[in-house]
Amino acid sequence: MTIDYAKVGLKAGLEIHQQLNTSAKLFCNCPPKLFTEEPTITFLRRLRPTQSELGQIDPAAFFEFQKGVKILYEANNETSCLVEMDEEPPHQLNPEALEIALLVGLLMNAKPIDEVYVMRKTVIDGSNTTGFQRTCVVAMDGEIMVKDKKIPIQHIGLEEDAARKTGEEGNVIRYRIDRLGIPLIEIATAPVIYSPKEAEEVALAIGRILRATGKVKRGLGSIRQDLNVSIPNGALIEIKGVQELELVSVVIEREVERQLNLIKIKEELQKRTIKKEELKEEFSNVTPVFQQTECKVIKTALSKGKQVFAVKLPKFTGLLKKELTTGIRLGSEMADRARFWGKVGGIFHTDELPAYGITKEETEKLKKTMNATDQDAVVFVADSKGNAFDALKAVAERAREALEGVPEETRAANPDGTTRYMRPRPGAARMYPETDVPPIQVKPEYLAQLRSQLPELPEQKMQRLMMDYALNEKLARQVLDSEYSQLFEVIVQNCGVSATTVAVALTETLKALKREGFAVENVSDEQFIELFRAVGSGELAKEAIPDVLGWLAKNETATVAQAVENLGLGTLKPEELERIIDDAIRDNAALVKERGTAAFGALMGIIMKQARGKAKAESVSELLKKKLKQFA
């Protein structure tokens, strides 16, 4: 579906979160790194929604609490201390992180705050052990230019990253607290973005400025883009956690498509003249229908003593299978809700039956039991009565919302650019001061000092890359937009390898490897430097770079020497190379005799098959030419 975004009236804003590469976390001295081993410390918690002065509690949070949701935290001593466990008050705000945020603020022409206050933003899903995220605004009212358009930057903030979810079993959610407390800079634009492409350009421009500080982390998960997307007659939808820049435009395209289709469904429902009151929360036990079923999911559930419950959605037939955007149907939106509110595995609905081992007869019997006509849809789940009722209640609620069009909600981005229901949109920001951390005054003298040492802006850097390193424009731009632009200069200045070789390796080669599925973000700065030192000193041919990088991506803690050994690489000694060439000439004596020096091309191919990555092509060709002349 091609969409004219100007006509549709799309408005989007970006909120970019980027991890900072500081030496310690934001409120303690733990190193900002993750661990992959088994946790050595675990503890169990419950988070109780705090009541506000107005007597309100976040309904989603209170619901989770009532369901008895528990959180099992995983930790080890290398990546967290009592602060992350919420067993010790936070230390002072990390001055290194504050300085980076102020630098970014100044680069974006924003106005630093005179006195910075750390706030507690209530987050009760377990991703923060405290039940809130510590966050502060550092600068406000900046702007950046993107393709000659002024993009206002509403604020630049600093906040602690959350724990990462590692699993969910029944009503126990597992989170690992290694990531908790890693400093994140937050950049929020005004909602002045009018097309998916423009969103991607703005995200790219902000990313360049962030990298200009040289103090940001790289790799998957180190940057997360939140989007807010709205169209007239649709709704303002907040989408969390887009991890790849390339996905920003896709997510917006899909979201606009989803909203447009939901509006169409609303119009269709109006045509079918359904009233909200008709979508009742009346649930029936339809277990008898499935007594002999061959459907595995239902069979398993029944064997565990669970039952099947159903709800009728009058006049909804055909709408549940209607695709909203690639892979997302109204039925899947209902399933998301059912999973969230009912903790069920999923739902079945008549639009997709017979299928999953459910027969036509069972479907008919179900409809009959539910007094459903061909106009109606029936949704059912197999679970405990409590969970099933919560799930079906959520389904009925979602159906009623379909009459209104697009429900306001917070959604999470999937890796393919689609989104899923995450939680209802929270009310007004629930923030109150973090009284354990004293406010920080940003003194004019300090700001003057920062202003005098601002890093170069992306466009200046672009010019310098072309001038100083003789890169062509394309390569220079690739280096600028890469997460490795800082490392590029370190390598070129220290390893004795040509700038172009380094630039190609750090941009095109890595991109190609990534496409082939190599986890190149695992390769550390130290490994890169070691690799290019080896190339610079002639120990390794530059042709071997892709193979070595690919191997290092799979062997995180290994050395370049180990890579060379395992791959059978390394530079040939002159006498070894000579022997290979001699052997080739001898094996092809007839050819050499016949063509003389013109046999060069054919021989070169044969020799390079053995010598690739172990000898420079130039040295091979030089020696081969010499040898051929001797024979001729």
Partner: protein, 447 residues
Amino acid sequence: MNKETLSGYKGDALQALKKAGAEIGDILRVTKDDRTYEGILIPRSENGNHKHIVLKMRNGYNVGVQITPTTKIERIGVGAKPTFQPPPLPKQKENLPKVAILSTGGTIASRVDYRTGGVRPALTANDLYSVVPELADIAVIDAEIVFSLFSENITPKHWTEISKNVAKHIEKGKSGIVIAHGTDTLGYTAAALSFALQNLPVPVVLVGSQRSADRPSSDAATNLLGAVQAAATAPFAEVVVCMHESISDEAIVFHRGTKARKCHTSRRDAFKSINALPVARLRDGKLSMLVEDYNKRESNRKLVLKPDFDEKVALVKFYPGMNPKTIDWHVENGYKGIVLEGTGLGHVGNHLFPAVRKAIEQNVIVAMASQCIWGRLGMTVYDTGRDLLAMGVVPLDDMLAETALVKLMWVLGQTKNTDEAKRLLKTNIAHEFSPCSMYEEEKQYDD
């Protein structure tokens, strides 16, 4: 305009706000150089400087704006005073046990005013039901505010007052008493009540929290629910301290009032039973006893109230090179008792001997407890210990130093006769002495 309407503001900032006619909670527009801030005026911390005003902006963030001579402050909206609309109260079940909750200052429940960022304690019974509705399934609550003090400001006079209050509620037929208390000196108060409230018919449960009640992760509600459940139904009738057993929200333990000590500055499981097992554990809603020797609940038993304490008692910690005049000073200033917190098995340097001897000669009771925290005195092992015993120092075996202090205050509140006081001091009244030092008791501290 008085101090409250511009709480915390001083100097330049106060003058500028007064000039603008602004009060806390008003919506202000502050223009300075080329920038404008709009937000609600927030109270300023008493220790903040005089130059900044704090605004809560529409996005919820607070920012501090420095006032300069050219800063313009306009009042563009009058602050709406928050009116608390509590959710409907849970239904009272009249047949449940009646429990008194006495608050002394420890905030066990609170709600947040997100508009101004203020945190307000919930103190009345209705407040407590509203914030921790599960309470209504356990007991009928009678809440009373005895006083509102940080626990470091609580003195022996307050112990007396709390004891009398507890007695009053027991008299009224309560099934148990819960006392909310700041954790810093909770152990001292627990020991004091253990001596002041004798022959208890029902449990007296002191409860605190290590994470403030305004945060979702607070241990306050879990501890409070545990305390109320124990007060309502536990089989024991003793003074106990109710806190988390570990850093998980899984088990609550009840420490004996005379054996409980705060051993960590910030962890949820800061309280430990020293040289003893906790009395009971509450897990998954079930209370199980961990000791066999305890005073059983018996509602017909008649409480004996002995609420008097003599404050002229000191706890003196020995350290290398300590000046003996420290002891002399106490004697000269009318102290009747000194608990020495000695090293190891119960020692102080022999340069203190003359001072100790003089104190005892002047009828000051000098007792010994160990600064090792864990373990029992052994004052007959070395010469130093034997010499101190010969002088008349009273060895307090495995009693906690803090409990020893409280007990000596209480003893001297009961009698002025030195021999009688010494006899009382050595009498096991509330499990402050354990008969044996068990290996098992230490196991709980292994991680």
